[in-house]
């Protein structure tokens, strides 16, 4: 079970806003997070990953406290090791697809499995600029999964894929997520995008 209760003052294009989110996420669940643009959905994911610190809050993942501002506990992102799929993919231009996965894990069997699941075997030696938008997005998802994260955070992770590819990937993803016992939180603007993937939703407003 993952408990999250955070509060942060954020700057938006309309001035300052308070980002307040409180929810309990069951293990292995996939939660779709939605809400108006600029409300702080990406900030919410970054707070969970430890990349941004909220003004107040508690984050507990499988009994381990990642953040408790009252007790001054704040694990760095390196210790939280949440899988993170960034909106801009954040792929490393100097690494091939294979090197991306090997940077995340030493488990070579898992690397081969992930490449297969993402239909990326033929592109293993390609650098990001040699991949299409959809392939780059798939690589970003595979890299985030490579460390078998307890928590997977996805920011608009299927936006560059066509429907057919997304559906196939979602089927394979679900098997991996179940096997790893990974809880997923996905930010998405389009209901269609997470169809068949998310089993619960959370509105931020």
């Amino acid at each position: 079970m993952i408990e999250i209760a955070i509060d942060k003052k954020i700057k938006t294009y309309m001035g300052y806003n308070r980002l307040r989110v409180e929810d309990v996420f069951p293990v292995s669940s996939v939660t779709k997070v939605y809400g108006p643009s600029g409300i702080g959905k990406t900030t919410f994911l970054k707070i969970i990953a430890g990349l941004i610190t909220p003004d107040r809050g508690i984050i507990k993942v499988a009994g381990q406290t990642w953040l408790d501002t009252q007790k001054k506990i704040n694990l760095p992102p390196q210790e939280r090791k949440a899988g993170f799929v960034f909106q801009d993919y954040a792929l490393f231009p100097n690494m091939t697809a294979l090197e991306h996965l090997r940077y995340a894990t030493q488990d070579h069997q898992l690397v081969s499995r992930l490449l297969r699941a993402g239909k990326m075997e033929t592109f293993a030696g390609h650098r990001p600029h040699q991949l299409s938008g959809g392939q780059q997005q798939r690589l970003a998802i595979l890299r985030a999964l490579a460390q078998r994260p307890k928590l997977l955070l996805m920011d608009e992770a299927f936006s560059a894929m066509d429907d057919e590819l997304r559906e196939t990937l979602i089927t394979d993803l679900k098997i991996l997520l179940k096997e790893f016992g990974t809880t997923t939180i996905i930010v998405s603007h389009h209901a269609q995008e997470t169809l068949g993937f998310a089993d619960r939703s959370l509105k931020i407003d």
Binding site: K81, A82, G83, F86, F92, Y103, R143
Partner: protein, 223 residues
């Protein structure tokens, strides 16, 4: 033509570049992170050699390194080092003078990398140091080359600062640029021409190498 001034210039440029590679890159990384007013002031100070007349910088360095100054006296008493009219003095002065040429391109390149690159690496459990070495540095390779070449070439052509600090001691501080000035001053135009041609050739080869290394970069080779 005496080859010692050319050799001294190359030695000075190589040592300066090496020192600035080791010290300038961490400095550039620190400056590239968002920071306080103090950081802005420090960056302004580091950039001063770029805009100050070399003779002004050389004059103040001469005063600071002189055995009559607090720093010069301390260096002489505790380490038996005199930075005035010595090769070591030229190195220290060159490091200060060429600092912005190493720091600015590297800092600018690091600041332009998307923050998500480092963030992605952190979420994979990688430390800041590992992220810097394996993700950030390899992705600013062309700017690193530019910084190294600019620093080397700039040190090679130094005149005002080295003349103020080192004078023109044969075999010690008389570098190529001073040898050219000296030759012209003594009406030895043929010798001045030879020194100039050698410096021109060395600099041209270096710039050609940068253009070759950075030919696939989106940026201009010296940006």
């Amino acid at each position: 033509m005496e080859w010692t001034p050319i050799w001294l210039s190359l030695k000075l440029a190589a040592i300066t570049t090496l020192i600035l590679l080791v010290t300038g890159i961490p400095m550039a990384y620190w400056l590239s992170r968002r920071g306080s007013l103090l950081k802005v002031i420090i960056e302004a100070i580091l950039t001063m050699p770029l805009v100050l007349p070399p003779s002004v910088l050389g004059f103040y360095l001469l005063l600071s390194f002189s055995p009559n100054s607090i720093l010069g006296k301390w260096l002489l008493e505790y380490f038996n080092i005199s930075l005035v009219f010595s090769f070591e003095g030229l190195v220290v002065a060159s490091v200060i003078y060429s600092l912005p040429f190493m720091v600015s391109p590297v800092k600018s390149a690091l600041a332009h990398l998307p923050a998500s690159l480092a963030e992605a690496s952190y979420t994979m459990g990688k430390s800041k140091f590992e992220t810097f070495c394996r993700v950030l540095l390899p992705n600013i390779k062309s700017s690193l080359w530019t910084a190294v070449v600019l620093t080397f070439a700039h040190t090679l052509g130094e005149f005002g600062v080295v003349l103020m600090i080192g004078g023109k001691l044969e075999g010690v501080t008389k570098v190529a640029s001073i040898a050219i000035y000296d030759a012209v001053d003594n009406n030895q135009y043929h010798e001045a021409n030879l020194y100039s041609l050698v410096l021109f050739a060395i600099t041209f080869v270096i710039v050609i190498l940068v253009f070759i290394f950075n030919r696939n970069s989106l940026k201009g080779p010296l940006e």
